[in-house]
């Protein structure tokens, strides 16, 4: 592969719907963790519910696109409530264990043959995006060249919509976190007992944060599955959540644009590294690696970046050193 080809791929990764899916989950997580201090390790479940809710409403209920989006949002809000009401009273580290457990339980369930009539079991659901692509106002023969990568009209449409949603989410977060409402969240992040003693209903604020952050993540999930029109349980494993955490911490957890920047950097970097490794392996310079193992290196790097960030730069790229601390 030539250099232009590699950079074209990386450029595409910067803006791809998958990147946007993760970015939106990261924005939701910024609200959860960066602003409220909730250790949510089940973000994959919120995204999954967005994807499944949308697909099921479209395919099984034959709802239109808006109804389907609404249904996806309601699914994730319902999940946030079911999960949050019992657990938000618990200590922060318990929440981490419960959310990761709930997300895994949900994934096992939707992938099981018990749930197969609704969710398609481990094969998942597909072909639910017709209406979305029919809304495309761009000429059908339009193409867009990103170096060697050529985007079709519907791919361009998908990316435009995805980034508009990111813009709205960032603005939404901006308005929220500059308000007294956001101030209460930050107070809770610092010390929830102190905020309680000042007469704020801490539980209600945490639940609001969980629901809203989860809803943003479920929009991310919808965009994530819309580009390929397939939604499978294997998309929503713990690695999805861990990557979301990595991009959040990369950009800066309590910053507005942190998840956006973090997501773009992360996926562009991963593409570059994978291509570079692929070339090195092909050239026989890394005799101990096989081409097929290169994809596994990606996850190894996720873990490594996550560790190093928390140890050496917990505030991320955009954060100010003082602004982010974990309420530990």
């Amino acid at each position: 592969m030539d250099l232009i080809g590699i950079f074209s791929l990386a450029g595409n990764a910067l803006i791809s719907p998958m990147t946007v899916g993760y970015i939106l989950c990261g924005i939701g997580l910024a609200l959860h963790f960066g602003y409220t201090g909730l250790l949510n390790f089940g973000q994959a479940a919120f995204a999954a519910l967005g994807g499944y809710g949308f697909a099921i409403a479209t395919l099984d209920f034959h709802w239109n696109i808006w109804g389907s989006i609404l249904f996806g949002l309601i699914c994730s809000m319902g999940f946030a409530a079911i999960l949050g009401i019992p657990t938000l009273r618990l200590r922060a580290d318990y929440l981490a264990i419960v959310t990761i457990a709930a997300a895994q339980a949900l994934r096992f369930y939707v992938g099981s043959s018990t749930a197969e009539p609704i969710t398609g079991g481990s094969a998942g659901v597909s072909q639910f995006g017709e209406e979305f692509y029919n809304l495309n106002p761009l000429p059908a023969d339009l193409t867009f060249n990103l170096g060697t990568v050529t985007l079709t009209s519907s791919e361009v449409w998908m990316r435009i919509v995805a980034w508009v949603v990111v813009g709205i989410a960032v603005f939404f977060l901006y308005a929220l976190t500059r308000s007294p409402w956001g101030r209460v969240l930050k107070g809770i992040r610092e010390d929830e007992d102190a905020v309680r003693a000042l007469g704020k209903n801490v539980f209600s604020y945490k639940l609001q944060a969980l629901v809203i952050g989860g809803s943003i993540a479920s929009l991310g999930g919808m965009i994530f599955v819309m580009s390929s029109q397939t939604n499978q349980p294997s998309n929503w494993g713990t690695n999805f959540t861990f990557i979301t955490w990595t991009i959040l911490l990369l950009g800066g957890a309590a910053t507005l644009l942190g998840p956006v920047l973090g997501g773009m950097i992360f996926f562009a970097l991963m593409t570059l590294i994978e291509s570079a490794l692929g070339i090195l392996v092909d050239a026989g310079l890394l005799p101990f690696l096989q081409v097929e193992q290169v994809a596994q290196i990606r996850f190894l790097l996720v873990g490594l970046i996550l560790m190093l960030l928390v140890i050496f730069r917990p505030q991320g790229f955009l954060g100010n050193k003082k602004e982010i601390q974990f309420n530990g």
Binding site: T87, R89, A96, I97, D193, F242, Q293, L304, V310
Partner: protein
């Protein structure tokens, strides 16, 4: 001031160095292993085809499944849960066939040509293939009591094995406050080294087991020395440490994958079936249960009878108080890591021998371990053991009423329910406010 900064910089440098060394050791060792594989090692492939064979929720083990495309073909066997996974090197369409001669007599395919399926890997790197079983032939009915006895026995076995790993988690949590999300990888390491020694190098089973436990101990000691101790010195917050452990867990997991490959390691062989009333079991299972019980009694004696054990409990109770009475807290923590890693590695060995294991087995068990520890009340060894036995029972007994593919779900739901009803766990105590 600048001296201080320089000092913290060198410390950061040392930490980075330690991490770098860790990876170079792990990765550096892997070429030898990778070359031991044939050039076409399936475990390194990027695409996965998987599924579960079952009839009326009863898993079907031991069926040979073949995935083929053009001239390439790969084989595997379904495990005791009826689950199977085949890693394949390329995308596109794969033909997946069951070897009907390997299907146990009591199970029947729904249709004659139902033994052939297709996996579509054009869009994704994962595809599930479903084979429908189910027939008019009556399944031999077991009474609910017989089922209960069988499941309780299985739950006890599974619970005992969880218990030794859970005590490992709880000892570390008790003395350092760390919720170690990388704990499962010590289970995996134990299982993989056991496979390497016993099934690959054909060592004596006891020697292989000891090697596996020693490897886990070395890993435990090493990660404490290279990561956790420096981080404790830097006074990193506990939640931050937890996230670091998540990262470290991912890294360890994928290093294990690169090293050992993604296939399930079969360590069976040399078992004799033993019948106890309605229960079919094997000598492996019974010996493994005995080992677990001995290990549990050993830990109990260690914690209550030895000086170091008592010091460990003192550190768990109140580290600064313990330090002021002259206990070397760091030394205790080091010992705790060794003991915890040994127990956890042993759990991996026992799990691998009984249920087979792959690179992610530890992570799959991790949530059950957390469930067990939380159930018992974080930080108490007895609680962890009790919690683990309960979780083991729940997982197994729930399969009487629920499809076995959902058995972990029931355990995780129990965890959530317990946290709601009694956040401090069954044996835990509440924290002080203000």
């Amino acid at each position: 001031m600048s001296q201080l900064a320089a000092k913290s910089r060198t410390r950061a440098g040392a930490l980075l160095g330690a991490i770098a060394i860790l990876f170079s050791i792990l990765l550096g060792a892997s070429p030898a292993m990778a070359q031991a594989h044939t050039a076409d090692d399936p475990s390194t492939y990027a695409f996965t085809i998987a599924g579960t064979l079952q009839e009326k929720d009863v898993p079907i083990p031991g069926v040979t499944i073949t995935a083929s495309q053009d001239a390439k073909s790969f084989q595997t066997k379904s495990d005791e849960f009826g689950e199977w996974t085949i890693m394949v090197p390329t995308d596109g369409h794969w033909k997946v066939t069951l070897d009907t001669t390997t299907i146990p007599k009591e199970f029947h395919l729904a249709t004659k040509d139902g033994a052939i399926g297709e996996a579509d890997l054009t869009q994704t790197d994962f595809a599930a293939v479903l084979f429908k079983f189910g027939s008019a032939a009556p399944v031999q009915a077991q009474s609910i009591w017989e089922q209960l006895v069988i499941r309780v026995f299985a739950g006890f076995n599974f619970g005992l094995m969880l218990a030794i790993a859970a005590i490992g988690i709880t000892l570390i949590y008790g003395t350092t406050g760390l919720n170690n999300f990388a704990h499962g990888e010590m289970v995996t390491l134990g299982a993989m080294i056991m496979w390497l020694g016993y099934s690959f190098l054909h060592l004596n089973i006891v020697v292989a087991g000891l090697l596996a436990v020693l490897a886990a101990m070395a890993f435990g000691w090493f990660q404490d020395a290279a990561i956790w101790r420096p981080l404790r010195k830097r006074r990193l917050g506990l939640n931050q440490m937890m996230i670091v452990s998540i990262g470290f867990g991912i890294v360890s997991r994928y290093v294990l994958l690169l090293f050992f490959g993604g296939d399930t390691k079969d360590m069976s062989g040399g078992q004799t079936i033993i019948t106890l009333g309605p229960i079919f079991t094997s000598n492996t299972t019974l010996i493994s249960m005995a080992i677990s019980v001995v290990a549990l009694i050993g830990v109990a004696l260690f914690l209550t009878r030895t000086r170091i054990g008592k010091a460990t409990r003192a550190v768990s109770d109140n580290a600064s108080l313990a330090a002021s009475t002259g206990i070397d807290v760091e030394k205790i923590i080091r010992i705790v890591w060794l003991v915890a890693a040994a127990l956890t590695g042993l759990a991996g060995v026992l799990y691998g021998l009984q249920f087979q294991a792959n690179w992610s087995v530890g992570f799959d068990l991790l949530l059950l371990l957390f469930a067990a520890v939380t159930l018992g009340g974080l930080g108490t060894a007895l609680g962890a053991a009790v919690g683990a036995l309960i979780i083991g029972m729940v997982v197994e007994v729930s399969t009487i009423w629920m499809p076995s593919e959902l058995k972990y779900v029931s355990a995780l739901l129990i965890l959530i329910v317990i946290l709601v009803v009694r956040p401090q766990g069954v044996l835990g105590k509440k924290q002080r406010i203000g």
